[in-house]
């Protein structure tokens, strides 16, 4: 056989085979649409440098996987010097020999904002394994006092004025030799003095190694038993501030749990403030106030202990707002990356239903382990939106943000923002047959917000307040081992707004626990005066209202903590911050 004939036979076979291979070649995949392509205008701009906030969180030396360093620390927005401007207090976690907590005073000149470090000599510049902050005027002297929780201690500082604070923890009878996390001041017995609840996490043993997958890692909460949260009754400050530990007789001592978040509000409409505690991996507790005498956990009965599938989730931060405009407050709790942040709607008074999926929060653009959270109306359309800051508690398999270093970069995640759309409600409510409207609808606007959501961080605390006085709510984010960042609200064409400070002159302080209702036409907005929410944080204590297109409000009513209602019938123009003093309305 001539070679050319052999070639003549083989060639077509080879060509056919080649053709087949060519046809079956892997197709170059169409590039996916850019995940982070913004679709709308950003809501927040990073102004950390512009406003001069220079703070790096000291989490102590890494490598030992000391658990408290992964979970701190918080911050507070409050006007410590009474100049009408919100100041900032930031907590450190580097231990007694580490960096000290820092106090920043807001200064304005020619419209420019600067945060000036006034820590030295303030009395608040302590070092420790700091976790959370609570702000409240415990001696009714008109000046906000500061409580700091730590791993192993709590500290109460009385505000002396002139930027000076003095520690009175021991004299006040306060002691919490446990791992304190979030804390809140509230007047549970309605005696006019602010009481204190301190949430405790787990009975941590620093010498116990945790090595999931064979590598050292921060321990999971289930490694250690949970602790009981502590309740301290304020005995009055006529002869110095005195608290009494009433944890056991108050009922909170009956159930331990790994608590992280706390929010005090009247959850069942009986006029007495209750306590919601978010537990990490165990059922939440809703301690219902037994008329100032004690508390009883009714979380299961009221549907808020578990998610809608009956599962306990890893609760971290807590926020509360009336998200569907029915006049009842709806709680929101942040959870792990593998879970979802959960929104319960209060569909009838004191009964909560997990409606996370129904309101559109089940399928976000990305997931994260949520800590701090805020439920506020950022765009002033009248509907509270959601901000969540995220950061892992166990290493990711790949570096998420190399700028944070080889340790913290593996724990970084992106934050999230959800807009509560005022458009048509979603679906039909299965329960609450009297309602014709469906559920509120949240839209994930994280991609539009590169500054706030675009850069992975190990975020923990999230505080909210109108720092620059333009009516829009700004945000402060704290991170583990990284910089604290300020985000200015830059929502274009925001609606009208109103900020209300409610003061009880008889108590000489902000009326923590008061509910402020603002009526515009046939619509009523309701907010709570309560700075303690989110995670380890204290927010601006004033009530903030987005009013949409309404340039005035028709009526304001305050439900004071003692149950008395006081209308302030005079209409007021929008776009201002006002102060309502008890007794100045219509009795």
């Amino acid at each position: 056989m001539k070679p050319w004939r052999l070639i003549g036979w083989c060639l077509p076979v080879a060509v056919a085979a080649g053709l087949l291979v060519w046809l079956c070649r892997p197709q170059p995949s169409t590039p996916p649409p850019a995940e982070d392509t913004p679709l709308g205008p950003p809501w927040f701009a990073d102004v950390t440098d512009a406003w001069g906030l220079s703070f790096v969180h000291d989490a102590g030396p890494v490598g030992h996987y000391f658990m408290p360093q992964a979970l701190g620390s918080g911050a507070a927005l409050f006007d410590f010097d009474g100049d009408g401007l919100l100041d900032i207090y930031l907590v450190q976690n580097g231990g007694p020999k580490g960096a000290k907590n820092r106090l920043f005073r807001q200064e304005r000149s020619s419209g420019n904002i600067r945060f000036v470090d006034v820590s030295a000599g303030s009395g608040l510049d302590l070092a420790g394994y700091g976790m959370g902050v609570a702000i409240g005027d415990v001696n009714n002297d008109g000046r906000p006092d500061v409580l700091v929780t730590e791993y192993g201690a709590i500290h109460l500082f009385l505000n002396q004025g002139q930027g000076k604070f003095v520690e009175v923890t021991k004299e006040a009878g306060l002691d919490n030799p446990a791992w304190g996390t979030s804390a809140a001041f509230f007047d549970y017995d309605k005696d006019g003095w602010l009481d204190l609840v301190v949430v405790n996490y787990v009975d941590y043993d620093p010498t116990w190694p945790c090595t999931p997958g064979g590598k050292p890692e921060y321990c999971a909460p289930k490694t250690f038993p949970g602790r009981v949260s502590r309740l301290f009754r304020n005995l009055g400050a006529r002869e110095g501030v005195r608290f009494k530990d009433v944890t056991l007789e108050g009922g909170l001592g009956k159930l331990a749990g790994p608590g992280l978040g706390v929010l005090c509000a009247d959850f069942n409409g009986d006029g007495w403030p209750d306590i919601l505690i978010a537990n990490d991996g165990q059922p939440n507790r809703l301690w219902i106030n037994q008329k100032g005498k004690a508390f009883k956990d009714e979380a299961i009965l009221r549907g808020i202990a578990y998610n809608r599938l009956g599962q306990a989730e890893a609760g971290m931060g807590v926020a509360l707002a009336d998200v569907d405009g029915d006049g009842r407050f709806d709680p929101f709790v942040t959870h792990l990356t593998e879970e979802t942040h959960t929104l319960w709607l209060q569909e009838s008074l004191g009964a909560f239903t997990d409606r996370t999926a129904a309101v559109g929060l089940k399928g976000p653009h990305w997931r994260g382990t949520g800590f701090g959270t805020v439920l506020e109306d950022f765009d002033h359309d009248g509907w509270p939106d959601i901000a969540v800051v995220n950061g892992r508690i166990a290493r990711a398999s790949a570096m998420m943000n190399a700028d944070l270093g080889p340790h913290w970069g593996l724990y970084a995640e992106r934050n999230q923002l959800f807009a509560n759309d005022p458009g048509p409600r979603r679906g039909t409510r299965a329960s609450g047959a009297t309602r014709s409207r469906g559920y509120p609808g949240f839209r994930d606007v994280s991609r539009d917000n590169r500054d706030f959501c675009g850069v992975p961080n190990v975020a923990r605390g999230l505080c909210c307040g109108d720092l620059d006085g333009d009516g829009g709510l700004d945000l402060l984010v704290t991170t583990a081992g990284g910089r604290a960042r300020l985000y200015r609200n830059v929502v274009p064409q925001r609606g009208h707004w109103l900020i209300v400070r409610a003061i009880d002159p008889g108590l000489n302080r902000d009326a923590y626990g008061a509910q402020v209702s603002v009526r515009v036409g046939d619509k009523t907005y309701r907010r709570l005066i309560n700075p303690a929410s989110s995670y380890l944080c204290s927010n601006d204590a004033r009530a903030h209202f987005g009013l949409g297109s309404a340039d005035h409000v028709d009526e304001i009513e305050v439900l004071w903590p003692d149950g008395k209602r006081e209308p302030f019938p005079r209409g007021r123009r929008a776009d201002q911050a006002i102060v309502l003093r008890r007794g100045e309305g219509k009795r």
Partner: protein
């Protein structure tokens, strides 16, 4: 022959080829055919060899698994399973076995790669798509769904006797609020096993979601007695009964749910296959915990002893946690000497371990207290109380808020006659004790 050949040659038509030519032609044809056959055979062989070599060269490699150096048992098991995959790279069973080992040991990402390969090789097997989907849970239900749907489809075709494919799919769909499809799959699971409590829990949740409260209650009632579902069923029943206006039942279910331990996971035969293979330390500790919770202290001790022995035989560093667990376990079983040996071994490995120091302090204190009651030698007793106090101090050094260690230290110091220091530690124990725990208060009262 020549004549005949010649004659026959004459008789042949001239047009026919000459015989010599014919022979040559025939020979040529044979040769040509032979050559073609040889060439084709050669080509075939070459193709086969090429294909074989190509298959070997392009055979998928088992994934790299970052097993920690201090877990030699797992490392060996993983290497053996990877070796089997290298030997039989086109065997679904080998890939599946490696995947199951990895899934059971918590390496979900690498396990998913193995299950995907197993499914490519054996597309009709239910467990591969099922385990692919399962390993994406709970973090990524969207990614899990296509695999679970495929598994449910295959299970339907092969008349599987396990409810797992439908149940898992239904649960994910319920979570994603795709209620119609969830219900369909819950019902398919019920057709296979009408007694499965997880099915009724799911149907109850679904009905509650739709506002069909009476139906929900009916389903949940069927799930409230099983240890797999009782806690969740009672918690949901509390809410459903409350909405139905039955406040008394609501309160009862709420109390019951609060008193119950968390539900066990439902029995997933495919996942169980994975967990049975798990030999990593975390899983051993988990099994020890489970056994102890079931009151099977002896079985738990056996597991811990095996772990200690296996690391020792491989010349690897032992894990102090195993010795601490063993010590605690032996204390429970009344073997004080064995416990002491185990705890001292733990301290040789981790000299600051709080749990080991605390357990030793407790053990030594109780032993000394017992001997004192029996009238032991005072000097010897003092030494023993001092030894207990030393370990309690070391425990407090690592964990200053350990109330129990302060209590033991206070009591040991009291026995040693150091009343002032004893008082300080007992006061500290009172301060640190959980609300309601009066042991330290009582000890302090006795001292006073």
């Amino acid at each position: 022959m020549n004549v005949e050949r010649r004659t026959s040659n004459v008789e042949r038509p001239t047009s026919e080829p000459t015989p010599s030519l014919g022979v040559r032609h025939s020979t040529f044809n044979v040769r040509r055919s032979l050559l073609v056959v040889l060439v084709l055979a050669g080509l075939g062989l070459a193709t086969a060899a090429g294909w074989y070599v190509w298959r070997r060269l392009t055979a998928p490699e088992p994934p790299e698994v970052p097993v920690a150096s201090d877990d030699p048992v797992l490392a060996e098991a993983v290497e053996a399973a990877r070796g089997r995959v290298r030997q039989e790279p086109y065997s679904a069973a080998s890939w599946g076995q490696l995947g199951k080992l990895l899934r059971g040991s918590g390496y979900k990402e690498q396990a998913e790669v193995c299950f995907a390969q197993a499914e490519r090789l054996d597309p009709n097997e239910v467990r591969w798509p099922y385990l692919r989907g399962e390993s994406r849970l709970p973090g990524d239900p969207d990614a899990a769904l296509p695999h679970l749907r495929r598994a449910a489809d295959l299970a339907g075709r092969s008349a599987a006797d396990s409810v797992a494919p439908w149940l898992r799919l239904a649960e994910v769909l319920l979570e994603k609020r795709e209620n119609e499809e969830a219900e369909k799959n819950f019902r398919r699971a019920r057709d296979v096993d009408a007694s499965d409590p997880s099915v009724y829990l799911g149907l109850g949740l679904l009905a509650e979601e739709r506002g069909q409260l009476k139906e929900s209650r009916r389903h949940l009632e069927r799930a409230r007695h099983s240890p797999l579902t009782q806690q969740r069923a009672c918690a949901r029943l509390a809410v459903v009964c409350g909405r139905l206006g039955d406040k008394e039942a609501a309160a009862q279910f709420s109390e019951r749910a609060a008193a119950l331990p968390p539900d066990s996971r439902w029995i997933d035969p495919y996942l169980a296959e994975c967990l049975q293979l798990a030999v990593d330390k975390s899983n051993v500790f988990l099994r020890v915990e489970q056994l102890e919770a079931q009151g099977r202290a002896q079985d738990a001790a056996l597991l811990l002893e095996q772990m200690v022995a296996s690391t020792r035989s491989r010349g690897c560093p032992a894990d102090a946690r195993a010795y601490v667990g063993l010590g605690r376990n032996l204390i429970q079983r009344g073997d004080a000497q064995g416990a002491e040996r185990a705890l001292l071994s733990a301290l040789r490995l981790a000299p600051d371990n709080v749990r080991a120091h605390y357990q030793l302090a407790r053990l030594l204190y109780e032993r000394a207290a017992q001997r004192r009651r029996q009238g032991g030698d005072p000097a010897e007793l003092r030494q023993q109380f001092r030894a207990a106090a030393d370990h309690a101090r070391r425990a407090i050094a690592g964990k200053p808020d350990l109330a129990e260690a302060h209590l033991i230290l206070g009591q040991a110091l009291q026995e040693d006659g150091q009343t002032d220091e004893a008082r300080r530690h007992l006061e500290q124990a009172v301060r640190l004790s959980k609300p309601g725990d009066t042991r330290a208060q009582e000890a302090l009262s006795k001292l006073k």
